[in-house]
């Protein structure tokens, strides 16, 4: 039965023009995660690298492609956990990072803590040598359009409510 990897690219509203890209991205990520497992890699390696692939894909709301907050900025969250020792690491409200999941793994492996947030997480990323990326590199035209559309008083209430999903 083993190994197995299962991935998701988010639930809720998906624009029609993104149907195909959304499905293609998770298939590619699952294939790569499975290849890691088949070559003897750990479940931890597989989930982290699979999620990093999806963070790098602008189709999804994570990493590059993240939605914008009320100020039009990107704040990202990530979590990783492994089931043998229940070790885990998480970060929230991090900015200017291509792969927040890698930072979450470093929190798990390099600190005695579980969860770092905001500026503290950014300082830790710098201390770990993770390069910052320009915020603009994380923002897609589609994310900017959605943000602008939802500023309007006549914004589509269905899309607005579904947009409340992460």
């Amino acid at each position: 039965m083993l190994p197995v990897v299962v991935v998701h690219g988010g639930a809720g509203y998906v624009a029609k023009q993104q149907f195909e890209a959304s499905t293609a991205g998770v298939r590619e990520a699952a294939r790569k995660g499975y290849a890691i497992l088949k070559s003897g890699g750990s479940a931890l390696d597989a989930v982290v690298e699979t999620v990093a692939i999806l963070e790098n894909n602008p189709t999804y709301n994570a990493g590059r492609g993240s939605v914008l907050n009320a100020k039009g900025e990107v704040e990202m969250d990530a979590l990783v956990m492994e089931g043998r020792t229940l070790a885990c690491g998480a970060v929230s409200a991090v900015r200017r990072l291509a792969n927040p999941i890698h930072l979450a793994r470093l929190v798990m492996e390099k600190t005695s803590h579980v969860y770092l947030t905001a500026e503290g997480a950014s300082k830790f990323a710098r201390a770990m040598g993770i390069p910052e990326v320009p915020e603009e590199s994380l923002i897609t035209d589609y994310a900017r359009k959605c943000w602008k559309d939802n500023q309007r008083p006549d914004a589509n209430p269905v899309q607005y409510q579904i947009g409340k999903m992460g």
Binding site: V5, H8, G10, A11, R31, V67, E75, V80, L86, G166
Partner: protein, 140 residues
């Protein structure tokens, strides 16, 4: 939001979840994703879960822990996921989706939203889907 669960050849489980959050969220808003037991959970004794959907609802019912609780009671990953998602809808009107795997490699991708892109690689087969009820397969 994106996420993954896996079980390796040693029988170890893991989960990972990452998100840009909620469109037009308040600055500083944190949802379920980075919270242990909300954005995901992994325990070799029961299973691994990664979630997506309405973060505030997921946090209120600690969706991954609820799924694993049902699995501890003997439910399959699919049954446990459906029960937990139904409870979230009934209790807090929450919508979302999950990917789940147990230590034997039994997996599920379930959601009560209209769409969730998902894929599972298992026994040299790739399963994938997008709309409710879809399960396409192709060889790996």
């Amino acid at each position: 939001t994106v996420g993954a669960v896996a079980v390796d050849v040693q029988g170890n489980l893991a989960c990972a979840t990452s998100t840009g959050g909620m469109l037009n969220k308040m600055e500083g808003r944190v949802g379920d994703t980075p919270c242990i037991g909300c954005g995901g959970y992994a325990d070799n004794k029961t299973g691994a879960v990664s979630t997506t959907g309405h973060g505030e609802a997921i946090m209120k019912i600690t969706l991954p822990r609820l799924i694993l609780f049902y699995m501890e009671q003997g439910k399959s990953p699919e049954e446990a996921s459906d029960m937990a998602l139904a409870y979230m809808m009934e209790r807090v009107s929450g919508l979302g989706g999950v990917v789940v795997v147990d230590p034997k490699g039994t997996w599920a991708a379930r959601f009560n939203t209209k769409y969730m892109a998902w894929a599972a690689a298992h026994q040299e087969q790739l399963h994938y889907g997008f709309s409710l009820g879809e399960d396409f397969t192709e060889p790996l």
